[in-house]
């Protein structure tokens, strides 16, 4: 009797343990969460990006060659989320910045004014394609492309979050 209780308990512990440590993840689709100083938080999947106007930016990658990236101008996504751009980008709103996070934890920031059409013609896009093809898994599915910036360090790959914040 004792032996059976032990076996039952051992089996139970084994399954609980297996369940806790190895809960087989169901593979999900990547998305970009837009949060912070927004009126409408967004969680954008690849298909959602197609709802926006598509823009192309050409820049060199680490291989030294020109590539054409396509995607959506970042400020248009932020506008959809209700971020203070255009005529509202004045006063204390000029102390806002945009923190972009990648799935490996890497982070970069842009001043909000760096993204606004009234301040600059330089385009910063959230790209999902390179030379007409989806980004490689190691780069995508979403990547920020900064037109003409000399270093590629802010062309952050595997973007998972965009957060608008006030500088303190």
């Amino acid at each position: 009797m004792k032996k059976y209780t032990f076996i039952i308990i051992a089996l139970f512990a084994f399954f609980i343990n297996a369940y806790l440590t190895k809960a087989q993840p169901t593979t999900k689709d990547a998305s970009v969460k837009v949060t912070g100083e927004v009126t409408l938080p967004l969680d954008l999947k690849l298909a959602d990006l197609q709802q926006f106007k598509q823009t192309e930016v050409t820049r060199k990658d680490r291989d030294g060659k020109d590539h054409t990236y396509s995607g959506v101008i970042l400020s248009e996504i932020l506008q959809k989320a209700g971020v203070t751009l255009g005529k509202d980008l004045r006063g204390e709103n000029l102390t806002k910045f945009v923190q972009v996070t990648a799935s490996d934890g890497y982070q970069v920031v842009f001043a909000l004014a760096e993204l606004d059409k009234d301040f600059t013609d330089r385009m910063i896009i959230l790209a999902d394609k390179v030379d007409g093809k989806p980004l490689l898994p190691a780069d995508g599915p979403f990547r920020i492309i900064v037109q003409d910036e000399k270093k590629p360090a802010r062309c952050i790959k595997q973007v998972s979050g965009i957060k608008v914040q006030f500088a303190k």
């Binding site: 806790l20 440590t21 190895k22 999900k28 990547a30 799935s103 490996d104 780069d139 595997q158």
Partner: protein, 383 residues
């Protein structure tokens, strides 16, 4: 010898008198040690400027001297475990830079933990805790080992009861929180305050960064290999370690798949996000005191730094989630692996040994308080 009346009284009651005297002395010394030892007020967290000020202290748990004092006692408190045998310090031992030297650690139920115990240093700058970063603060982190049946295995309610029934803790909680109520939340907060003080900033590498230490040729060569990516076309040799482990703290809060397995048994942060790109991704841990924290990796699979460097040089396992920082990095033109020379591997290990901070592992502020109080007493007795 003349025997007078008083002497007789004394001799008769000698045992009793001595007992009373002893009691008085212990009471007095206990009272004075508590009074002497516990300073109050804000705790100054001192660290070098090059560590930066992106520190992580929640608004509702400022670091105070009395909080750190209590937190240290709790960190070493075995009453927080189901059978009074384990404390945090059982798996996080100071002389091993707060690890335990085991691949996996045994909990109160003799079952092994799922992952390797992590070194605790410079947590003040950490924002995501555990190998998969699943805890967002030290306060949240501390609950897990306490209630996990394979670690300390005791509910917070039971811990609260046990501490409430002691002579010392209620008064200490009053000193820290204003009243004697002990709660799970207060226990976690005090432990976190203590953990934030575990600052390691006096390794030979720190001294080198302050121009106070001249590295040997071997250390310098290892440092260069560690910091640089290889570029065989230009004749630059490198190991590219700093891409993930760089900076003055040798910690950047990144999560990567460093090629341990093609099909990982433990999928790492994929189990939290469900994303294939996160398969086998784990926290890039600090390399501070790395020579003291063997065995290595989330499952403790490597016993020596030699094995670790061999892994990066020659044995990376291909998979879709393998970090791009480790792909196509080679010291041979068109090569697939780093392919370091045996002398270069030794140089890198010499640099890793520069990260050992003996001040940190011997700092009396971080040691077992039960032992230091005993030590203090024996010291003052011998005076």
């Amino acid at each position: 010898m003349k025997i007078n009346k008083y002497n007789i009284v004394f001799i008769r009651h000698k045992g009793f008198v001595i007992l009373v005297l002893l009691l008085l002395i212990t009471a007095l010394s206990a009272w004075t040690t508590i009074r002497d030892a516990i300073e109050t007020g804000p705790y100054q967290l001192v660290y070098p400027a090059n560590f930066g000020n992106r520190i992580n202290v929640p608004d509702d748990n400022p670091t105070t001297k009395q909080g750190v004092y209590l937190g240290r006692l709790l960190f070493y408190e075995k009453k927080l475990s189901a059978n009074n045998t384990l404390s945090c310090a059982s798996c996080h031992q100071q002389d091993k830079a707060f690890t335990d030297g085991k691949a996996l650690s045994e909990g109160v139920d003799q079952v092994l933990t799922a992952r390797n115990s992590m070194s605790l240093a410079n947590l003040l700058w950490t924002r995501k805790f555990f190998w998969d970063g699943r805890a967002g603060s030290l306060e949240d982190q501390a609950i897990t080992p306490m209630i996990n049946p394979h670690e300390m295995g005791q509910s917070l309610d039971v811990s609260v009861k046990k501490l409430s029934n002691t002579a010392t803790y209620p008064a200490l909680f009053k000193l820290v929180y204003g009243n004697e109520t002990i709660t799970g939340d207060r226990i976690c907060k005090a432990i976190s305050q203590f953990e934030r003080t575990l600052i390691s900033c006096n390794s030979r590498y720190d001294q080198y960064l302050k121009n106070a230490y001249l590295p040997t040729r071997q250390e310098l060569n290892g440092m260069n290999l560690f910091m640089n990516g290889p570029n065989p076309e230009k004749g630059i040799r490198g190991a590219n370690c700093a891409h993930c482990h760089g900076g003055p703290k040798t910690y950047n809060e990144l999560f990567h798949n460093n090629g341990l397995d093609s099909i990982p048994k433990d999928v790492g942060i994929e189990s939290l996000t469900g994303l294939a790109a996160d398969r086998g991704r784990f926290k890039v841990p600090t390399l501070r005191n790395i020579a003291l924290t063997s065995p290595y990796m989330h499952d403790g699979r490597f016993k020596t730094l030699e094995e670790v460097v061999d892994h990066y040089s020659d044995h990376l396992k291909e998979s879709e989630a393998l970090s791009t920082f480790l792909r196509g990095e080679s010291n041979d033109i068109g090569g697939k692996t780093l392919h370091l020379r045996p002398d270069e591997k030794k140089d890198i290990i010499a640099f890793l040994n520069m990260l050992t901070d003996s001040t940190f592992i011997n700092d009396p502020r971080f040691s077992d308080p039960n032992k230091t109080i005993a030590l203090k007493k024996s010291k003052s007795n011998s005076k």
